[in-house]
């Protein structure tokens, strides 16, 4: 398999893993977001993931998001793709290590940043307000922000650096994907079907830090509560995890950023040799 194929498979395995509290999984749809939309999103993202193998990171991301949105009809995997694109590029050009992934994000340009802003015009993305004084760079401005971006000479890594203190995916970019690689090591060390390993990795990631999307949509106290509950459920009764999953669907609380990290971790594990027939 190629890196782009493994990245698409990682998206499919991520959504399949169950129970994955608050998220769409093999056992649960959300009221306005169905399992099959994630299947279509993964299929639609593939062309952009192939661009990531040898094209500019920003263009690859924009293409992947556009393909995802066209196929799924909604935003299913925007955050997953933000993590996967630089990792696919890293894997396509040599060994997939944290150091080499940092080199890939260090090499991003102002053009990559412009493409990132254009990607926000493809689909609805839940984001927090920009840092004080950075209104001109609000991603919700889409392509309108590009002149300001160019004037300041900001690369895609610079832009994500602005969000690193409150967005877990941006922090992965800035810090060299520490949580993704740690979770990948746990997936590798685990056994059983990969989707099940992904679901366990999801719960560990949720226990590790508050979910960014939950903070954005429901505030810090709800995100903290989820982290606490996930900690209590570590290594415990699978039935209790299922009950938690059903409860979060009912409450409409969706830790989507933790799913992004899970998909990226599954990709790294696939690159390192785990497989569906292992």
């Amino acid at each position: 398999m190629t890196p782009a194929e493994r990245a698409e498979l990682a998206l499919l395995l991520e959504v399949t893993g169950a129970p994955k509290p608050g998220n769409v999984d093999r056992e649960r749809d959300l009221p306005d977001l169905r399992f099959e939309q994630f299947l279509a999103g993964a299929v639609g993202a593939r062309a952009g993931l192939e661009t990531a193998e040898d094209g500019p990171v920003g263009e690859a991301f924009e293409t992947a998001v556009a393909g995802m949105a066209d196929a799924a009809g909604t935003n299913t995997q925007f955050g997953c793709l933000l993590l996967l694109v630089p990792l696919v590029r890293t894997a396509s050009t040599g060994e997939l290590t944290r150091e080499r992934a940092s080199e890939v994000v260090d090499a991003t340009t102002v053009d990559d940043a412009a493409a990132f802003y254009r990607a926000f015009e493809q689909t609805d993305v839940a984001v927090q307000d920009p840092p004080e004084g950075a209104d001109a760079l609000d991603v919700r401005r889409g392509a309108d922000a590009i002149p300001d971006l160019r004037e300041r000479g900001l690369t895609l890594l610079d832009v994500l650096g602005l969000g690193a203190d409150h967005d877990a995916n941006a922090r992965e970019w800035v810090e060299g994907f520490p949580r993704v690689f740690r979770a990948a090591a746990r997936v590798e060390a685990d056994d059983g079907p990969l989707a099940d390993r992904g679901a366990r990795a999801f719960l560990q990631l949720l226990a590790e830090a508050p979910d960014t999307l939950v903070v954005t949509e429901h505030g810090e106290s709800v995100a903290d509560e989820l982290q606490e509950r996930a900690l209590e459920l570590q290594g415990g009764d699978p039935e209790a995890v299922r009950e938690f999953a059903d409860e979060l669907v009912e409450r409409g609380v969706n830790p989507g950023t933790t799913a992004d990290l899970t998909a990226a971790a599954l990709f790294v594990a696939l690159e390192r040799g785990v497989s569906v027939d292992g």
Copy 2:
């Protein structure tokens, strides 16, 4: 979306649809065949499905099967791909009609037939004995049969014609895909999530005729029994369909050819405009 993307999505929707008695679905793995292997098989088949858009039908099929087998580690969708490849080709060059699909299969060559034989070397495929006097053309000979094939000047359509009386997929090739297009029309007329429509189409197809793979593996009487049971379950209690699904998994009876027809029907319906966000 492109025809190759829709074909890959059709493979993913097919395996997701549940309950699909005797087959892997969103709710059930088989003891030696897991849902995630079908996900990987679909991802791996994509390159061959792209070849089908503008390359030779035989080469496209061989590439799709090789990619599927490499990614899934087993035979997940051989029969699906045999139906999808000519349909992708048809959709890529104009309107997807039965007449135009027949033109595509009519145009297959001896080289296409040779590639079809090589595809059998990529993975294990359950097949019946060849017709009397056709031992030289037994697909289980793989590439060894190619000289005999060339000597007789048989195209891929000719080869499938030899199996049309006992293999439902071969019959679709020879007769212009009648069951696939009828099932596609039912999927279009149905409503709700596409995977659910696929599961209902599967049960209708199973009620329509004995499943080829079940005949091959368990004999005609078991295949007839399944058809009878599927007829009784038409439009009935979904819980009864689930019980039938669990029973068939337990008995190890897998109507795989009916799943092939379902995947092809989902592809035709997607080409005609149904979508996951409909």
